[in-house]
Amino acid sequence: MNLRGSRLALAATTAVVSVASLVAVATNSASAASSRLKSGETIYFIPKDTLNPYEVIADAGGKTALNAIGDKQVVSSGTADTAAAQIPSIQAAIAAKASAIVIAGNDPSALCPSLAKAQAAGIKIVSFDSDVTCPNHLFINQANTRQIGTSEIDLLASEIHSTGQIAILSAAATATNQNAWIKYMKVELKKYPKMKLVSTVYGNDDPATSLTVLQGLLSAYPNLAGIISPTTVGISTAAQYLDTHKALLKHLTLTGLGLPSQMKKYVLDGTVKAFELWNPSNLGYLAGYAAATLASGTITGKAGQSFTAGKLGAYKILPAAAGTGPSVVLGPPTVFNKSNVLKFNF
């Protein structure tokens, strides 16, 4: 899986809060929230497709939230990432008299006529992972673009003493998310005058291509101090290469956005010290709570309103900004390192 497909940005789990305290909060506030929320509602989760591992984890997070509330989750979508494949699922939600739809849009606008019909039938709309442009819905943002870009640079700077040549191993040259993050990386780099971005290369989210451009990069800049790979395929491929060419680690540090399950081997053996990602399970969990709260009528989705999302605590709805309506931001990305990488199972 990759982070390329318009996974708009941000993300994340409430940083490195210890898992123990999360669990403690969960017990308390979950019971508080569920006492206020109506149970027995049916909520449709419509992911981009039913196979993508990332979406599967997010949907499971939503199920955990809805189980805690006493609502029923139905996951429905196609196997291809197209808007056409999602429309039957929206119609199914209307037919089943669902009270809310949580959707990861495969197209920003093509789904709007169907979603408008659902709204006319009294269904509340929540989007997550990838937003839609239709009016009157709440967007659950996994992390904002600026936070991803700046935190990647800050993380690398802390590991290389803010000094040396750095490069970026990205997904496709046309990948919207990665390009947006890279833009903010460049802005953040101005804070570190001794760090110089010498090259950005594109591995197209294919391990073979990533490896080829990585080796080219190492030839072009033999003294490279750091590589940021803001894509799961890129960082795992680069980590695998460094794992077998450990001499490079004397001067080269790798970080980026990766999956804990894929990266744990390299973190535990010292090839990679730290990397980041939001927690898709928490993203689905927050979306589940938002949908259930809207369905209960406790909030209407207007900016400034607040609600409690079980173990994750309280969230405030942010006002509409350029290109997006009212939204909730999950939090800053989680940093994974030796101390916590084994605790995350995705």
Partner: protein, 350 residues
Amino acid sequence: MTIASAVGELAPAPRPAPTPGRVWDIVLRARELGILVVIFAVFGGTTIYNSSFASSASVQQLLAGASIYALLGVGETIVIITRNVDLSVGSVLGLSAYVVGEVFLHNPNFPVPLAFLVGIGVGVVCGVVNGAIVAVARVPSLVVTLGTLYLIRGVDALVVNGVQIDPSSIPGGFIGVGVNNILGVPWIFVITAVVVLVVGYAMRTFRSNRDLYAIGSNPAAAELAGVPVRKRVFWAFVFSGAIAGLGGALWLAQFATVASTAGSGYELIVVSGVVVGGVAIFGGSGTVLGAALGPLLLNTINQALVAARISAFWNQAIAGGLLIAAIAFDRFVSLRRERNLRLRRAARGA
């Protein structure tokens, strides 16, 4: 053209003394030599610009990075020579890589050589499906393998079901095959080279393999000449599947992680590499050595562009340009050969 060349190769006529024109023809026909020259030119040029391009790690990656494409190219060539095409190789690679990973996930001590056999086995099953539909049902292979491209990827997605195999589940001994070197040469390249040499020898030597060229040059004539066309085509697909299955196991060994997207889009990279390597897309001519050198050239260019600090945006444009150049070159050579044959025949008639 292709017919002439295949017939010529099957029954070489006594050669008249080489004239300057004929020497030129022989040079033009030694396509593999030409690609090697281009590879060395790209390599040398980049090294002059940036000496670390010739470092051992860099050269190892040039060879290792091209190996899986080259390997798939060998299987693809056997199919293309029979005037067919196998578009399912990327999907077969993905399924095989995942199944082998799944085997390790449940049996961490599974013997490494057997794991490669599992990969090949997955490929053989897919190849049998392709071959049976193409040869028995006589459906054009372009359509059949376009169908199995999606079918096998769909089966892969069902088997994978959103999970992925992580590096910590794959035994070090298996990964070693994908990342370690012997005497400085990547194992994965050695395996590919052995396959290229063995298959290359077989294609030159054995009657049943020479039949493949005859089938591709003119299927109807081959049938009339008593060549068991359907049987040969069936086995060509089984072979291509087996090679793609082996490629899947090697892919897993090289990258140590696999999800349902492994190998997506490889079919077009492989077909372009093979065509750049001088295999005629309409069958009847080409060698597995050329098919293996084509991907090596494309990989060398990709890595060289980055090493020479040229914008990566040029990669695809250059690969596409090379493909068109290769096809134009083939056309030029075949027109020239046709003209020569005509002239010679006219001279003999006079």
